[in-house]
């Protein structure tokens, strides 16, 4: 096929190109001389430049890059979110991996490659790029989850293997589902599928439905929706905290972005059957995710379950449909990403520099307020944001979701949301109050005393300020999203 490369096409392609170039530079640097801080600096600079390039890409209007990718406002928004998540993970890694005995630099390499996958997913408008992006995103993550397994507990390796097997199975499902859909529709691009769908009656095509079901299963695995959530808490627990931050934010957001684009462009989410499946996932995720978190004593596992519940809330917006739903999803995901970066950032900071294990038990955080008041002042609003209490971004997100649900009159889903939130409050509060209880034992793990001056600390504080700002005065962010979408 003849690809015409004009300047504006080139500019829209820049974010992807810059990250790819950074990967090559980092790879070459590592092979010449290992220098942890330099590698980190180059990665962060590359990601920042890519983020800047996203801004220029938004100026170019809608651009099609080959039949596989499209760069429109939607793609730019999710590219930006992926890049910001990657940046956060990179800055956290810097302090975290300092004390790691073996080679440290490859972590950045894997992170950057996974970021490319996320960017591809955000721009994807074709089943092929959907799958390619998914694999570029997932495969490096296996390595990242297990990165510290030599010196740490066995959980890291267990998590990685679990993630690899379930993720590979999910990919296989998606691939087979695509093949089945292709058999019925004869096209792999989203727009071509939309055309083909117009010519058939959805409920008369069992092969198409089977294919769609397999794609749903695969995506549900990646997004850890109940009942495909079993890997989530183990992987969250096993992964090093910065990797957890990336996994929870960039990886999930990118998959969700392409999934939403696929459903909305093909209009499949308005088929009653598909809608019922989404409702099923949503209700189960909200209730089971929150219920399973109740008795956990491990902060990372709590976050894993909480992310299950949050994607359950998010599906309400998708079920509601309509032009409003994209705005809802964007706002909710931004709030979700900011909050998760904050919480996992604090875990990473408390666990830095890397020792035998991460500080992930609640008991490690007992009395944190009395020895690290400002770090607690970060973690408290973050937990409240997860719970959806006003003054935080999480509340604005939940407000939007409820708004969408009320508009579409999804009373059962909203009922489940209320029950889920009430359950959620219990375990989020348990975490919060632990921070303020008097410490009863000498603590082993603690953030280094200069955490606030390290780049990770600065990043976490900035995230908190942004998160609270979004909760108190969301209008600028709403304007931005309306402008972009």
């Amino acid at each position: 096929m003849n690809i015409e490369l004009s300047i504006s096409k080139f500019v829209t392609f820049l974010p992807l190109l810059i990250v790819t170039a950074t990967v090559i530079v980092v790879m070459l640097m590592i092979s010449i001389r290992r220098d942890h801080n330099l590698t980190a600096a180059v990665s962060v600079i590359g990601l920042n430049m890519a983020l800047l390039a996203v801004y220029f890409a938004t100026q170019q209007g809608v651009q099609f890059l080959t039949p596989l990718m499209i760069v429109d406002g939607y793609a730019c928004l999710y590219m930006a979110i992926v890049l910001i998540s990657a940046l956060a993970a990179a800055t956290l890694t810097n302090a975290y991996i300092e004390g790691f005995g073996a080679n440290r630099e490859e972590m950045y390499l894997l992170l950057l490659i996974a970021t490319i996958g996320g960017l591809v997913l955000a721009c994807s408008r074709h089943m092929a790029s959907f799958f390619i992006g998914l694999e570029i995103l997932s495969v490096p993550l296996y390595g990242m989850v297990a990165y510290t397994f030599r010196t740490t507990t066995v959980f890291s390796l267990e998590g990685a293997v679990k993630y690899m097997i379930s993720s590979a199975a999910a990919s296989a499902f998606i691939l087979f589902g695509m093949a089945l859909m292709y058999a019925e529709l004869g096209d792999l691009s989203f727009s071509g599928m939309t055309l083909a769908l117009g010519k058939i009656v959805f409920s008369d095509t069992p092969i198409l439905i089977a294919g769609l079901a397999m794609i749903f299963i695969g995506v549900a695995f990646k997004l850890s929706l109940v009942p495909f959530h079993l890997w989530t808490p183990d992987v969250y627990e096993g992964a090093p905290a910065p990797v957890g931050a990336f996994l929870a934010t960039a990886s999930k957001v990118a998959v969700f972005a392409v999934f939403v684009r696929f459903l909305i462009e093909t209009g499949l989410h308005q088929q009653p059957l598909v809608e019922n499946v989404l409702v099923f996932f949503s209700v189960l995720s909200m209730l089971v995710g929150n219920a399973l978190a109740l008795m956990q004593k491990n902060l990372k596992r709590i976050l894993g379950y909480s992310s299950i519940a949050h994607f359950g809330y998010l599906l309400i917006a998708l079920v509601a449909g309509g032009s409003f739903s994209q705005e809802v999803i964007a706002i909710y995901l931004i709030a979700y990403v900011l909050t998760n970066i904050g919480v996992l950032g604090v875990i990473a900071l408390v666990s830095s520099p890397f020792g035998k294990k991460d500080a992930d038990m609640l008991s490690d955080y007992r009395g944190l307020f009395w020895r690290r008041p400002y770090l607690t002042a970060v973690l408290t609003p973050m937990m409240l944001s997860l719970a959806g209490v006003p003054l935080t971004a999480g509340f604005i997100g939940k407000f939007y979701v409820v708004m969408a649900g009320v508009d579409a009159q999804l009373w059962w889903l909203l009922g489940a949301l209320i029950i889920g939130s009430a359950l959620g409050i219990y375990y989020y509060l348990r975490v919060i109050v632990t921070l303020y209880l008097p410490a009863n034992a000498p603590y082993e793990l603690d953030a280094s005393s200069d955490w606030g001056h390290r780049i990770g600390g600065v990043m976490v504080i900035l995230t908190t300020i942004l998160m609270v700002f979004m909760g108190v005065y969301p209008q600028p962010i709403i304007n931005l999203i309306q402008l972009i979408l």
Binding site: F369, W370, L384, V389, P390, L391, F395, F399, V402, M403, V406, D407, L414, L417, I418, I419, S421, A422, I425, Y426, L429, R430, V433, Y436, L437, Y473, P474, Q475, I478, N479, Q482
Partner: protein, 508 residues
């Protein structure tokens, strides 16, 4: 601007308390005290400059005395809209007064993390004040939730074990938060439902009280949305089936927390019923009134009977709140202007008397280290002032003429009698029951043989001052309630008008 300052002073004061703890434990206490005094002074200033007169004419519009409005989230027509009228003004002044009392009574009780304690206390007061001032429904919900988190901390970090030792303070705090937060979400659903109904009818997104009041709705929609609001207010008030968080939270909170809860937080629910439920959903409220009044009567009797069997003195007082709030519920739904006035007086008087009783319990606890009445007894002979003060406030709470609570309950009963004699008669049994449990409490705690020979310190000057202030307020309301009735009459008249006109329309 003055309204913003009333909300901001506690918030800023709280932050200062937290940061200035390093200069000594006394500093946060003085900052907190001054902030709350300032709020009270601003409230009194608003009273003196506002135009509050008793008028017989029907008022058709809300009479905002001072208003502040700024755009906030234009996307949904949300504005930062504060306003004060005769309904909110007395509650603002009460907030200042109770705030001062809460700071004063924790002066010696709280020795741990003083700065952070006052941060929580002041922020929760700031949230309460915001609730009383907000007339944008989003902003109202915002403050409604904001006041919960600091209150949660107050109970969770500085609370006490239950008397029987079975449940710790975290249990009470979690229960409180989950009850109120879940019911708050139901209210959020109702608010958003109202906004969407308004949007579909007019094409305008708005959360503004004045605009939403005129939303055209079918009766069924109105009823469902009204129930959403009612559940949130019923949990907070509390109304009978939703009350179970209250005894735990009240009895296990530190004194300032109990004062804050009983004196102010419960009043936000009654305020919400007046401000939002009646004017926005008049027909639905009218047809729901018999059920609500039934719940009110049940609450009065149930609360009184539960209070009677308690051995923990703070639990006893907590259950009396359930009982007294039953009167408030009846008055709000009676639809009689007289009863509404009574509710206003009852809210203020109960806020003062319940706070005073909790403060006295706190003083007893500091001296005896128990809240169990079976371990007290014979205190009358050992202290000269504290038992007398307790008797005074107990008498107020049981409705002794001459004190504030009598005026409130009397007006509510008279007003209700004209609407529903049965309810009024049943409710008045609450007065008898309250005499029974109050005197039992006095008898158990202060009479009988003394448990030990150790001397007990009497009231200090600070404690004496706190109690005298509250006594003076109750006496003033009891003997000369007219100024208070003047403040609120116009606003309540407007609310009655709003909830009446459409009721007549329905009848035609």
């Amino acid at each position: 601007m003055i309204l913003i300052w009333i909300v901001l002073i506690p918030i800023i004061g709280g932050l200062l308390c937290w940061q200035f703890e390093k200069f000594g434990l006394g500093v946060p206490r003085w900052i907190a005290l001054l902030s709350m005094l300032l709020v009270m002074v601003l409230g009194l200033y608003l009273w003196s400059t506002g135009d509050y007169v008793l008028s017989e004419a029907l008022i058709q519009q809300s009479d905002w005395q001072v208003e502040y409005r700024a755009l906030w989230i234009e996307r949904f027509g949300i504005s930062f809209h504060l306003a004060i009228d005769g309904l909110s003004l007395p509650l603002i002044i009460l907030s200042g007064l109770i705030g001062v009392m809460a700071v004063g009574c924790s002066w010696s009780e709280i020795q741990r993390n003083v700065g952070f304690f006052h941060l929580c206390l002041l922020w929760s007061l700031g949230g309460v004040i915001g609730v009383f001032l907000a007339i944008d429904l989003f902003l109202f919900f915002f403050f409604w939730e904001v006041m919960l988190v600091p209150t949660y901390f107050l109970i969770a970090l500085w609370g006490h074990r239950s008397s029987d030792g079975k449940r710790d303070r975290l249990y009470a705090a979690n229960k409180f938060f989950i009850f109120t937060q879940a019911s708050g979400l139901v209210m959020l659903l109702a608010i958003l439902g109202l906004v969407w109904v308004h949007y579909h009818a007019t094409g305008v997104f708005t959360f503004d009280y004045e605009k939403l009041r005129h939303t055209p709705m079918s009766f069924e929609v109105q009823y469902i949305l009204m129930l959403g609001f009612f559940i949130a207010f019923a949990v907070k008030l509390p109304v009978l089936p939703f009350h179970s968080w209250l005894p735990d939270a009240h009895s296990q909170a530190p004194t300032a927390g109990s004062v804050d809860l009983a004196g102010l937080l419960l009043k936000t629910a009654a305020y919400g019923l007046f401000r939002f439920l009646l004017p926005i959903f008049p027909e639905a409220a009218h047809s729901f009134a018999p059920i609500a009044m039934g719940l009110g009567v049940a609450g009065i009797i149930y609360g009184a009977m539960m209070a009677f069997v308690q051995t923990d003195i703070k639990r006893l007082i907590a259950y009396t709140s359930v009982s007294h709030m039953g009167f408030v519920l009846i008055g709000v739904f009676s639809g009689s202007a007289l009863a509404m006035q009574g509710v206003m007086v009852q809210m203020i008087a109960h806020g003062i008397s319940a706070s005073a009783l909790f403060i006295l319990c706190g003083m007893l606890y500091e001296r005896l280290h128990t809240r169990d009445m079976r371990l007290m007894g014979g205190l009358w002979g050992k202290m000269s002032y504290l038992p007398f003060m307790t008797l005074f406030f107990v008498a107020a709470s049981l409705g002794l003429p001459g004190l504030g609570n009598f005026v409130g309950e009397f007006l509510i009963l008279i007003g209700t009698y004209s609407v529903s004699p049965v309810v009024a008669i049943l409710a008045s049994t609450g007065l008898i029951l309250s005499a029974v449990y109050s005197l039992v409490m006095i008898q158990k705690a202060f009479y009988g043989p003394a448990r030990s020979e150790d001397p007990i310190a009497d009231l200090s000057l600070r404690e004496f001052g706190l109690m005298l202030t509250l006594m003076a307020c109750l006496l003033w309301i009891g003997l000369y309630p007219q100024p208070l009735l003047n403040i609120s009459s116009e606003s309540l008249g407007a609310i009655k008008y709003m909830s009446d006109v459409t009721t007549q329309k329905l009848g035609q």
